[in-house]
């Protein structure tokens, strides 16, 4: 292995066991350990995110660049992009990362025209292709950035100007072409500008129809080119806009129903977006499974006391345990995975910080996986839940749910009932959870 001089390390991070105090050693992530019949690596399907780790310079709304990465300063954009790709694949190797994900503009510079931008993208994709011949790292998903350039300030698919819509089509076509070429497992759409800043200037209904059309065209194209993975919408309620149309899982579900997209489109759920919408991460994941649209995970965490998307590395073992418990219950990921849509804090300016953050978060998730495995084996939660609803598994309950009873019939039966409440046992179950995490 030959890595660039960016990282002060030449060898991949290894599993060292729970007793290790090395921030660059895994304590729980033991990739070949079997969990419910599958290797841990194949369960967790971790993915590195190109944007946060390699293209974000460390700025925030009140301050500029802090990272000063060498590939961010220079005269030749394509040369810098190649340098960035080298560092990225070095990191993938050092972290033994099974997947990565990228936006078109993360990997290649925007050109003076759409044509030139696409050419730049394809130049880098070719480099990726070569690197991936020898690297273990696969593409979890690709996507197009339809929000950073000023042309998208009023939306991409939902722009009042149909030419902007067209431009977005051009970008998204190139991005899914690239994703297919690199054997990406999914294609993601995050509608960061598909929303509004003020209703005073907005035709909400028209914009929803535009967005529905855009997705439908993309789905048609996906079939045409034989891209096998699903299209994933990533819900987010707000930021950058005041209000985004893909607010949360429930909203996306209704949208997919309305525009007849349920067969081809699923969701990519992010923790930080969940809490910005007022939901727990667990809620969004469960709801997506309940509605049949679970796709993939952007693994990160927000700050419960802040009202914006901090995209911090996930470190909360309890939350990750509930996440893995839900995913394992449903048989594990299919095309999805756990993409680190997480950025190191802007003060974490050492190259090592980038590795340490991934290692700590991978370990926290692995620990959650192991806890979830044990909870399922013990039926620690599933048992009490099944017992709580047992009445619905009896004849009358089944008949009601099957539509075999009318309101009058049930109302008539109720006249003789005086149902008594039973304990919800919340504190007991919270104590049980604490036994596993």
């Amino acid at each position: 292995m030959t890595v660039t001089s960016f990282f002060n390390r030449q060898t991949p991070v290894k599993f060292e066991g729970e007793g290790s105090t090395d921030p660059l050693g895994f304590r729980f992530y033991d990739k070949d350990r079997m969990v419910m019949g599958k290797r841990m690596e194949d369960h967790l399907r971790f993915s590195a995110a190109y944007w946060h780790s390699f293209t974000w310079p460390g700025g925030d709304p009140f301050g500029g660049e802090t990272f000063n990465r060498p590939w961010m300063h220079g005269a030749d954009p394509l040369a810098l992009a190649r340098q960035k790709a080298d560092v990225a694949f070095d990191m993938f190797e050092l972290l033994d990362m099974p997947f990565f994900a990228f936006h078109d503009v993360d990997v290649a510079p925007e050109g003076a025209s759409l044509k030139e931008s696409i050419a730049n993208l394809n130049a880098i994709v070719e480099i990726f292709e070569k690197k991936m011949e020898t690297s273990k790292t696969k593409l979890l998903w690709g996507t197009a950035n339809l929000f950073s350039n000023r042309r998208f300030m009023a939306g991409a698919a939902t722009n009042p100007d149909p030419d902007v819509f067209a431009y977005a089509c051009g970008q998204v076509k190139a991005a899914i072409d690239a994703t297919k070429r690199l054997n990406g497992a999914n294609y993601v759409c995050w509608g960061g500008r598909e929303g509004y800043e003020t209703l005073l200037n907005t035709n909400l209904k028209r914009e929803l129809d535009q967005l529905g059309r855009f997705l439908s065209m993309l789905v048609d194209y996906k079939h045409k080119i034989g891209f096998n993975g699903p299209i994933l919408i990533e819900p987010k309620p707000k930021e950058p806009t005041k209000h985004q149309y893909d607010y949360d899982v429930a909203t996306v579900y209704g949208f997919l129903e309305r525009y007849d997209l349920l067969q081809d489109v699923k969701v990519n759920i992010e923790q930080n977006h969940a809490i910005l919408a007022g939901h727990s991460f667990d809620h969004e994941v469960r709801l997506a499974y309940a509605l049949g649209i679970f796709g993939s995970i952007d693994i990160n965490r927000g700050d419960d006391l802040l009202g914006w998307d901090t995209d911090q590395f996930a470190m909360n073992v309890g939350e990750l345990t509930l996440l893995m418990h839900e995913i394992l219950k449903h048989g594990g990921f299919t095309t999805g995975g756990m993409n680190f849509d997480a950025k190191i804090r802007r003060q974490s300016i050492d190259p090592d910080d980038l590795l340490i953050a991934h290692v700590a978060s991978m370990d926290a998730a692995a620990r959650g996986l192991l806890a979830a495995e044990k909870m399922l084996a013990d039926k620690a939660l599933e048992g009490p839940v099944a017992a709580r609803y047992a009445g619905w598994d009896e004849a009358e309950g089944k008949a009601v749910l099957a539509g075999e009873r009318s309101l009058e019939q049930v109302a008539e039966r109720a006249l003789g009932l005086n149902p008594q409440p039973r304990s919800g046992r919340q504190e007991y179950l919270e104590g049980v959870l604490n036994r596993y995490v």
Copy 2:
């Protein structure tokens, strides 16, 4: 007119004109004034809410009763309920109120059994029926309280115990029967306990299915008895539970699609519930119209800095103007109206406070109606919005929206485009709005 001794006033509140300083005189609400071809009273369709005004004793989570209403203390529950009904209809008359709304348990005491509770309800309904023969006040909607009694602590339709589901069927049947008997224009379902306190003890998917079944049974029954009004779901994201299934308009839409209820069920939108879900009132109303499920309004306001349902009387003319602008744009209410799901503060203990609050809020809404009328006449907002989207009314835009273009076609066209952003003009439009309010 003969009113009880509760209110210190014998004559209805009247329109006195903008210059009036009488808190018991209308400054803008001039019921017979014509607005876009309809009487103001017929536009606004105000409704008094039985619960807040007559059954809430003034308690909050840290304090008990403050109002000490005479009809809340006594040995004979039915006698007290009759006394309450007298005061209620007095208030309706004093406010010249065109509608009212009630829950079953607001108007009649719960009995020792469901049978007795229904009997109590019917006894009061009979009294209402007589009063309504001479009163102008009609029933905007009826509903069943499926959240206060401890039997519903874990939900009604979504309860783990099918007997509780059955009990809820019994109550809801009696309530819609009563609503029909009183010629109610709508029937409302607020799922205050249809949610969860913790996911640890919850089967989310099963509960959604139970809720779908419950609504379907209610819709079938509505058709069977020939109840003409719509069923309205009132979205609320949380409180009393941690998370309610009818989170917001978008969520309810998806639910109605999923359980095939879109033909018969619409939404009753409350301002305070909108902001608890992270949406502006205007957003929820617009979205309901866009999705074809707008039904009615619970007119009140929350406190932007508090995280619970304060249900204050709406006083914000700007917000009410945007509300009426939206409603007028869509031709006004059909079966819906503006129900005062609002309570006077617990410190507002004088009987007059009850009248003053309604008068001030009715006036604010009337002022909003007049402002909206003028804005529509001037196309103050509609003009700039139409201009902003004009490109989509041209041939290519129309073709795209009509599904006549593939992604490749549009992407190909985009290669020659370099769309330039145009000003969103938000501050200009905010200034325009300030010209009208």
Copy 3:
């Protein structure tokens, strides 16, 4: 030991070791285990709260009583109060609880006059006194409820009516007298109504002065009667009122400075109140120590996604570890302790739920204590923090902080400087924390 028939258990909960799966056995709380030179029990100083466990009936803003405790229903209030006291001391014994805390109205019924209320209080205090002769359970603190009765709806000390202020004085004098009689370690003031519902009717400055006077009178009285413990203010930003004057630790500090109360008054910090004010629990505790006003803890937790005071049992080991880390760093509690200002969920209606909740939370805190002990031994956080600020321990840094440098001098020195940022290492430290919890 003879316990009432309320709990289905006759023997105290015991330490059973980490492997136990008994919800009524301690896994970490091993009271005699030595931690940094002190018994675990003496470190944690747990206290049961009379109000949540014995006087709250399970209601919420949309629903009534769920618990149906036997001592809540009966004709003779004092007899019920005695029965309640029996159950309370049974619970203390079953949990081996070292402390408890109460409000005047929790333990004794309010009478028809202040005089009668005080007599009722004293009657129960006498019972407590006798029970405490044989029980190990001591009084952590007493307090007066100046918020539930309607006379306090507009505040107690901050009421616009000086007679209400006087009434509050009467109650608080009796409550501190009772606290002294029972050898309470502290006296607490929570200003639940010392705030406003609307600024429109409020003279904010005058109310602050009233509150300052009230506290000063209480401090004078405390000295006069020789009550040795501190007066503790419990900050809370809102709920029940829109805005409370004791918003958070920083606000209380400024208030104490302004009214010259810093010598005698400290703070009782609650987790749920901290997050309602936008702060982490850790922040409030650290700030109180930094400002020299740390007193005691109300141990509970809020729901990060809800905007009201849920007062749930603390179960988050990570948060409790940081709490104990801070407290241990400062040498542990003096008069303070960890009072369970926590209520079981209203669906947790079984008597066992009350025990299980306390056990699970005591265990979580004990686990936090053990983790904190280890972190301190390893200087896991203290080491990196000290290194980060090392520059300030050198001569020039010290001189600046000692006030020995003027702005011009330092500015002059700066002309030759080009300070380079150093990594904040947040993810590293988060990973370290995860090694201990």
Copy 4:
């Protein structure tokens, strides 16, 4: 008047009367109109903010520059700074703006060293000096930007590195020197990085002491150079950091008390920062007056549904009325004014948008001023408030507040009292307010 070609307008905006529909004409802001004995312009003391209007390129966390201002692109930073100054003074003239405010880095480019940065600043200050000889526009305040450069990523005064503290001293000395030279009325400190990202790496107490020292040095220097205006701290609870030390008015008050700065330091209150801290704007202003630290206003507005600082132009007449009511009650501004710390939305890309936003907001504030004048004349709020507290103006109330009563004395008196609650009349007062706005 000769303006640059940036604005499509050569003549100042004029008062045109309420009937005007010109977005570039004032409807209420009639600068010479007398209000309570003073010209409207002298009451409102509007100030333009250099940063938002001239240095912000329109970026947000997910998107880059939208404005493409000519002075933001070019090879010679000082030449661009001069061009920017020309446009700025053009805008001041077009808006007839009485004041402006700036940060050091807004007006002049940072150099390769502190020395060079100061030289650049002074070069532009010299240009300002000349322009101000003929312009009516005065300097409301100056300030130093101690948050954008990466050297401040971990704080300025609160940095773990004393060299960064020193650098901040160098910048702040130059900035207050410049402010004095330009006859600035105040000097402002906003501690955007004086906080923390995580407590794990933070010594909170030490940082507070550093901040206290920094302010003390600045106050000493202010006296030394004979700068007459106050130092103003601008509270903000969070953003960019997770938690800022100048959280809100109450926190700043306690800080000033602690470090003995109350004589020289006051607050500059911003609406958006108020609501991010959980307070209404009115609350923060009232509290600052009550505590004697009111200084100046950053006039803008946040979005009640968003958790970050949107800094929108203030348009809410009701809120502005309450603001002006409070300021008028206290005799109006002294050194302070109303600084437009507000930015046009990033989609408002036309030069006219900059003018229109200021005009609309100035008009809204002027309308608030006129409404407040009338309310005060009518004692619309002051009358009811005074009546509500009348009891405290009687002998016993006064004696209590004067410290002439002990707790026992008042408690004794209370034995004979049974105070009855009186209505808080909130809805009545809300209706009254609606009569004026």
